[in-house]
Symmetry: C2
Subunit: 216 residues, 2 copies
DNA sequence: TGCGAACCGTACCGTACGGTACTGTCAATG
DNA sequence: CATTGACAGTACCGTACGGTACGGTTCGCA
C-alpha cells in the first residue's frame, strides 16, 4: 500500500511499466495499426495472456499507456516569486517553448493520434483522459504563472481561462494539428525559440500592463 | 471532355458522387471503423466490384471522399473593396465565424480524424490533401483580406503568413483539437459569435493601426 | 431482336486480429 | 522435496475485413 492514498488510477508494477514502455515505442514507430496484442507481447517478451490479465482488454492497455506516459511528463511548478516584468516574460517564454516541445514529441503525437482515432466510437474515454492529464496539467502551470503575474500587477485580465486560451492559441496556432496530420516536420523548422518569443511578445501586448509594448 | 482543363484531379460521375456522399455520411456517424467497403456498398446500393473499379482500392476511396468534400466547401471570395476600419472588422469577424463553423462541422471533424489516423503510415497523402484543400484554401481568403487591410493602411505587418497564423491561433486556439478528441460539444457552448469578436478584437489590437484599441 | 457494357448482389478467399486455453518453466515457500 | 503461483510461448478459435470472381439484370444501341 503506497503513500499516495487519493490515487484511484491503478499504478503498475515495474514489469508492467516496462511492457507499457515497449508498447509506446511500438506505437510511436508503427502507428496504431502496428499496435496489436501479439505485437506488444512479442516486443515486450511477455505473453498475451499476461497482457489480458494485467490490462483487461485492448482498451485497457491503451488507457494504461496514456496514464503511464502522463505520469512521466509531470509538469514541474516553476516558482514565480519575485516576479518582475523581465522574469515574467522569461517564464512565459520558457513555458511556451516547453509546450511546443511537449506537443511535438513523438510519443505525444502518437498518443494524440490514437485518442483521436478512437474518439468516434462510444465511450472511449481516451480523449478526455488525454485532455485531463495533458492540457489540464500544463494549464495549471500556466494558470499559476498568469495569476502570479496579475498579483504582481504585471498582467491585466478578468478571466484567467480566457487569457490562457489566448496564450495557447498564440503559441500553438494550428501547429499541433499540422504535426498530427503528418506534415513534413522539416517544414516546421523547429525554431520554437523564435515562435515562443513572438507569441509571448504578442500576449504581453494584449494582457501586459502597458509599457512593455516592445517593437517586433 | 470538360472545360476545366488544368484539373488533374479526376472528377466523378453523378452516380459516383452519390456514392461518395453515402460514404461520408457513413463515416460521420460511425467513425472510421464503420467505413468498410461492404458497408459503403450497402449504404450506397452499389456493388463492391464497382467501388474497386471506380476508386481502385480503399485508400483511393478515402482520397476521393476528401476531394469530393473539399469541392463542396469552395471558399467564396468576399470582395473587400472600400475597406474601412469598421468593415474590415466585420469582414474579419465573419471570416472567424465561418472558420469556426467549418472546423466544427461533422464531416470536417470526421475527415480530419480519418486523415490523422492514417498519418502514421507511409505515403498516405490524406493529411497533405486535407491541408492543401482545407487550410490553404481558406487561408487564401484570409490572406486576401489581410492584404486588402494593409493596402488600406488599416493593418500593419511584414509577414502576411505570420499575421494569418496569429489570427488563426486567436480564433481557434485548441478548440479544434478538443473537438477532434471528442470533447462533449455541449461544453464548446457554440458561442462562436462571441469568440470571433474576441479574437478579432485582439488581432486588431496587435496588427491594427492604433485608434481601434477598444476596451474589452 | 441481338449484343455488349455497366452494374448490382452475393458468394468466396486469404489473412489478420482480439481473445482464450493449454503446456512447460522458473522461483518462492513450507 | 512437494506445492503453488506467476509467467512465457504457442496453438487455437471466431470473426471481420479487403479484395476478387461470378451469375443475373438493366439499358443503350445497332
Amino acid at each position: 500500500m503506497q503513500l499516495a492514498a487519493h490515487r484511484h488510477e491503478p499504478d503498475y508494477s515495474p514489469r508492467q511499466n516496462a511492457v507499457l514502455d515497449s508498447a509506446l515505442r511500438l506505437l510511436v514507430d508503427g502507428g496504431e495499426k502496428a499496435l496489436t496484442t501479439a505485437g506488444v507481447a512479442r516486443a515486450a517478451n511477455c505473453s498475451k495472456e499476461s497482457l489480458y490479465k494485467w490490462f483487461g482488454d485492448r482498451d485497457g492497455l491503451l488507457s494504461a499507456m496514456i496514464g503511464f506516459q502522463a505520469s512521466k511528463v509531470r509538469t514541474f511548478d516553476d516558482d514565480a516569486r519575485a516576479l518582475t516584468a523581465a522574469t515574467l516574460h522569461d517564464h512565459l517564454v520558457v513555458f511556451a517553448r516547453d509546450l511546443l516541445e511537449v506537443l511535438s514529441g513523438d510519443v505525444s503525437l502518437a498518443l494524440n493520434r490514437l485518442a483521436i482515432g478512437q474518439a468516434s466510437r462510444d465511450g472511449s474515454k481516451l480523449g478526455s483522459m488525454l485532455q485531463e492529464r495533458g492540457r489540464r496539467q500544463i494549464g495549471k502551470r500556466a494558470g499559476a504563472l498568469l495569476e502570479a503575474g496579475r498579483k504582481a500587477s504585471l498582467l491585466v485580465f478578468d478571466d484567467r481561462d480566457e487569457a490562457y486560451d489566448t496564450l495557447y492559441g498564440l503559441v500553438v496556432s494550428d501547429l499541433h494539428l499540422r504535426m498530427l496530420l503528418g506534415e513534413d516536420s522539416a517544414r516546421i523548422t523547429k525554431d520554437f525559440g523564435r515562435r515562443a518569443e513572438r507569441a509571448v511578445s504578442a500576449f504581453l501586448r494584449l494582457y501586459g500592463r502597458e509599457k512593455n509594448s516592445a517593437k517586433p
